[in-house]
Amino acid sequence: MTVGGGAGGAPSAFDPKKIRMYGLVGSVVGIYLGAILNMALNTNVFSFVGAVAAIFAVVMGANSVRRICAYGIGTGVPSIGMLALGMGIIAVMFGLSVAETLGFGLLGPIITLVYAGVFGYIIGVLANKVIKFNIPVMEEGNADLSMAGAMAILGWSFAVSGNLGYFDIVKNVLMTGYIAIIFIAGGLAILHPFNANLGPDEKQDRTLVNAIMVSGIAMIATGIAAILTQGLAAGLLQLVIGFALWFYFFKMYYKLVKRDAAAVVGTGLLPPTVQ
C-alpha cells in the first residue's frame, strides 16, 4: 500500500533529527527575537522576523509529512496537513491563553510547543494503536507535525499582530479573520510540497525548497494583512522580503525540477490544426 516514495521510509539526504532541531530552535528563537526587538525598540518593523521563523517550522513540518506519507496513508496528503494545522491552532490558543492567565505572557510559545508536542504524540499513538496504522514513524512524525503547525501559526500570527500578547493576537488576527488566511496558507506550505513532488523520483531537497517557496507566498499574504494592522512600513517590509524569498526559491526549485526531470521541452504555441 504505497503511494509515495516507497515503503520503509523515504530516502533522505538531511537527517530528520537535525531538521527537527533546526526547525524548533529556529522558530522559537526567531519568534522571541522578533518579539523582544519589537518591544525593546518600541517599533513593529521587526514583525517580519516572525514570518521568517515560521519558515523553519514549515520545513520541519514538510519533512515529517514526507516521512509519514511515504508509507501511504490512503486518504491523501492534504488530510495530514489539515490535521497539523488543526492541532497547531488549538495549541496556539491554549498556550497563549494559559500564559496570559498565569501572568507570564512571554511563556506563550513554550507552553504552545509543549502542548503541541504531547498532543501530537498522543494522536500518533491513537493512529497506530487504535486505528492500527502500524507506521513506525507515526508517533514522532505526528509530534513534529503538531509542533510545526503550532509554530508556523504562531510565527505568522506574530507577523500580523506585531505583538505576542494573547489579547493583541485575538484582536488583530482572530477578530479580523486573518487567521483564515494564515490557516490555509500555512496548510498549503506544510502539505503542498510533498503533495506536488510525490512519486518514485521524489527528492528531499526539491520538496523542502518547495516548502520554503510556498512559505514566501504565505509571507506576502501576511505582509498584506500587516499593512492593514501595523501600518505601511512594517507590512511593506514583510511583503518585499516575502516576495524576494519566493522569487529566489522559485528559481532554485525550477533548477531542481530541471535537474530531476528526464527532459524539459517547450511545447510552444498551440500547433496548427491539420485539415
Binding site: 496513508i73 490512503g74 486518504t75 491523501g76 492534504p78 488530510s79 495530514i80 489539515m82 490535521l83 494545522l85 488543526g86 492541532m87 497547531g88 491552532i89 488549538i90 490558543m93 491554549f94 491563553s97 494559559v98 496570559e100 492567565t101 502542548y115 498532543f119 498522543i122 494522536i123 491513537l126 493512529a127 487504535v130 486505528i131 492500527k132 496504522f133 494573547y166 489579547f167 493576537i169 485575538v170 484582536k171 482572530l174 477578530m175 479573520g177 487567521i179 490557516f183
Partner: protein, 229 residues
C-alpha cells in the same frame, strides 16, 4: 476559570460533538480520485474536504442562529440542517454531472439490491469499476452523515462560545477540534466508503475510541482558554 458542574457539562458536550463528527464522516459517500473519474461511487474528493465543508457550513449556520437566540435545540437544528443542505447540494450537482455530462448509470458495487429502492445494481456496474455516481442509498447515507457532522460542529461551538464569549475564537477552536476528529475518522476509513451499507462501515468502533480520547484532551484544553478582547 473556576471549575463547577457547568465545566463538566461543557467537556461532555465537546466530547459528544467530536464523536458525532467522527462517526458522521463514516456515513458520507467518499469516492476520492476514482469517483472523480466516475470509476467508483461517491463524491469525487477526499474525506477531510467533505467533512470540513459540511461541518464548517454547519458551524456558520449554528453561529448565525446563536446570534439571534440562545436556545440549544434551535442552534443544534440549524447546524444540522445547514450541513445537510451543503452536503445534499454537493451530491445533487455532482449527480447532474455524472448523469448528464459523464453519462454513467448510478450503481453501487457493494450491494446487490439498493436497500431503499430495491433496484438491482450489478447489471449497471461497468466492468473494471466499483460503481458509478451517487445511488439513492449513498445519497441518503450522505445526508445523514452531513447532518451528524453539522450537529457535532454546533455542539462543539455552543459550549466554546459560552466559555469564552468570543465568536471568532470559538469558531477557530471548533474548526481545530473538527479537523482532528475528521482526519482520525478518515484514516480509519482509509480511502473510499459508500455509506452505512459499506462493509468498511463496521470499522467505526475504532474511530469512536480514537475520537473519544482525542476529544477529551481537546475539551480539557478548550475549557481553559479565555475570551481575550
Amino acid at each position: 476559570m473556576n471549575f463547577d458542574i457547568n465545566t463538566i457539562v461543557y467537556i461532555l458536550e465537546i466530547l459528544v460533538g467530536g464523536l458525532l463528527v467522527g462517526i458522521g464522516v463514516h456515513f458520507v459517500p467518499v469516492g476520492g480520485a476514482p469517483a472523480a473519474m466516475a470509476q467508483a461511487t461517491g463524491i469525487g474528493t477526499g474525506t477531510v474536504q467533505l467533512a470540513a465543508g459540511s461541518g464548517l457550513t454547519g458551524l456558520l449556520a449554528a453561529g448565525l442562529m446563536m446570534s439571534v437566540t440562545d436556545n440549544l435545540w434551535l442552534i443544534l437544528a440549524s447546524g444540522a440542517v445547514g450541513a445537510g443542505i451543503m452536503i445534499g447540494s454537493t451530491m445533487l450537482t455532482g449527480s447532474w454531472i455524472y448523469a448528464y455530462a459523464v453519462g454513467a448509470p448510478f450503481a453501487s458495487a457493494k450491494v446487490n439490491y439498493d436497500p431503499i429502492t430495491g433496484f438491482s445494481q450489478p447489471p449497471y456496474v461497468a466492468p473494471g469499476t466499483v460503481g458509478q455516481g451517487i445511488p439513492t442509498i449513498c445519497f441518503v447515507s450522505g445526508l445523514i452523515g452531513g447532518m451528524m457532522g453539522g450537529l457535532g460542529g454546533a455542539m462543539i461551538y455552543y459550549p466554546l462560545y459560552l466559555i469564552n464569549g468570543n465568536a471568532a475564537l470559538s469558531a477557530m477552536f471548533a474548526i481545530g477540534i473538527f479537523l482532528v476528529n475528521a482526519v482520525l475518522a478518515s484514516w480509519n476509513i482509509q480511502g473510499t466508503i459508500e455509506g452505512f451499507h459499506d462493509p468498511k462501515f463496521k470499522k467505526w468502533p475504532f474511530a469512536f475510541r480514537a475520537c473519544a480520547i482525542a476529544s477529551i484532551l481537546l475539551a480539557l484544553a478548550a475549557v481553559l482558554i479565555t475570551g481575550g478582547a
